[in-house]
């Protein structure tokens, strides 16, 4: 079994009109055994930037903690928060540093960039090959299913409520097709004024 599928998990990011959404499932398991049904894979960096890290959980946690370390130092020196583009760049750097002994994680970054709050999403593989798009990105153990349903349901320039609906439906449908992700999902919708967080109740299996 692949090391990236050892713990299971799934993450989706999507852009809307002046908003972005990020969702992850809540399962934490060790191969077939489920340990926790309350383990989100989305982490907050600052109010305008969230990071979703799938893959091996120990590496995801460590990567997040190192990212917080770097963000804190950045804030002390520059006296401002890191913008999502900068976080993305930093992550690619951190991952490539470990090119020959990598973190087994595939992070997704989402946020609102700059004073105009332009939606920004990007994703990368475990050694930091990154791509930034303007619609959606998926990572995890069931990417084929997630790609299918996201392609179908995604529309450009959705407002917050539609975006929330779409990303939730994509998440819940994909979870049902995969044994290693599931047990509900958590969705964060980031707008210029607030962050709305909702937990979804799916099939508990």
């Amino acid at each position: 079994m692949s090391i990236m599928a050892y713990n299971g998990g799934a993450c989706i990011v999507m852009t809307g009109k002046n908003c972005v959404a990020i969702a992850s499932d809540l399962r934490f398991g060790i191969q077939q055994q489920t340990i926790s049904n309350d383990f989100p894979k989305v982490y907050r960096i600052n109010d305008k930037c969230f990071v979703g890290i799938s893959g091996l959980v120990t590496d995801a946690q460590t990567l997040y903690q190192k990212l917080v370390f770097r963000h804190n130092l950045y804030k002390l020196r520059e006296e401002r928060d890191m913008s999502p583009r900068v976080v993305s760049n930093l992550l690619t750097n951190m991952l490539y540093e470990k090119r020959f002994g990598p973190y087994f994680t595939e992070p997704l970054i989402c946020g609102l960039e700059g004073p105009e709050n332009k939606p920004f999403i990007s994703g990368m593989d475990l050694i930091g090959a990154s791509v930034a798009t303007d619609d959606f990105l998926v990572v995890g153990t069931m990417t084929p299913a997630m790609y299918g349903v996201c392609e179908t349901l995604y529309k450009k320039d959705m407002n917050e409520d539609d975006l929330f609906e779409t990303i939730s439906q994509c998440m819940l449908s994909s979870l049902d097709r995969d044994a290693l992700s599931g047990w509900g999902a958590i969705v964060h919708v980031i707008t210029p004024t607030q962050v709305i967080t909702k937990k979804l109740l799916g099939r508990q299996d």
Binding site: Q65, K66, V68, F69, N72, L73, L76, R77
Partner: protein
Amino acid sequence: MYRNQYDSDITTFSPSGRIHQIEYAMEAVKQGGAAVALKSKQYAVLVSLKRSSSELGSYQKKIFVVDDHVGIAISGLTADARMLCNFMRNECSNYNYVYESQIRVERLVTKVADKHQVHTQRYGRRPYGVGLLVAGFDQLGAHIYQTCPSGNFYDYKSISIGSRSQSAKTYLEKHFESFEECTLEQLITHGLRALRETIPNTDDTLNSKNVSIGIVGEGQPFKIIEEADAQPYLNLLENEEPVEMQTN
């Protein structure tokens, strides 16, 4: 003079058992702009006088944020201070990364003092020419520490360093017993009054351009108050009569 034979190397003791290079480094601290630190039960406050190289220039930064619960005021070689500040920030973040909690102020200060000491014992490395006033708040309460180029550090109730700091120390010695129960505003006012003592009569008084205030305490992450934000506190100062030094 005798002194000159034994003072060119950090690794040479003088016949009287002193290392003159360290003492010269402490002189550099005494030449820097004044800084005052004081604490109450719940707050620690730093107040400092900024200098500018000319009327055209800006005033040099004297107070730095190190972490949410610690900040420093510097006196001496600013470039050396920046290195130490960076080091302290790194140590705080590192501790947070490993232990997921905030480093205690005394532990951080000990690390800085050890760093100073390394430069007093190795050939070819000069001591840092800067003294720090560290203000912090942790589980044990509010703290004020002073670090020296010698590698010593001292725990204080209130202290002042830099040029003409003796006048500020005299003010603090007269009033320190009341600091424990002071409110934050009273504490800042005491600090400003002490700082005012260090200004020579020929210069400007304290104004929002040359004063920098740092506060930290219970429920208050370390914050720097400068420029316009400092004006209310300076106004409090102006409304009172000039302080008469009591001679009992």
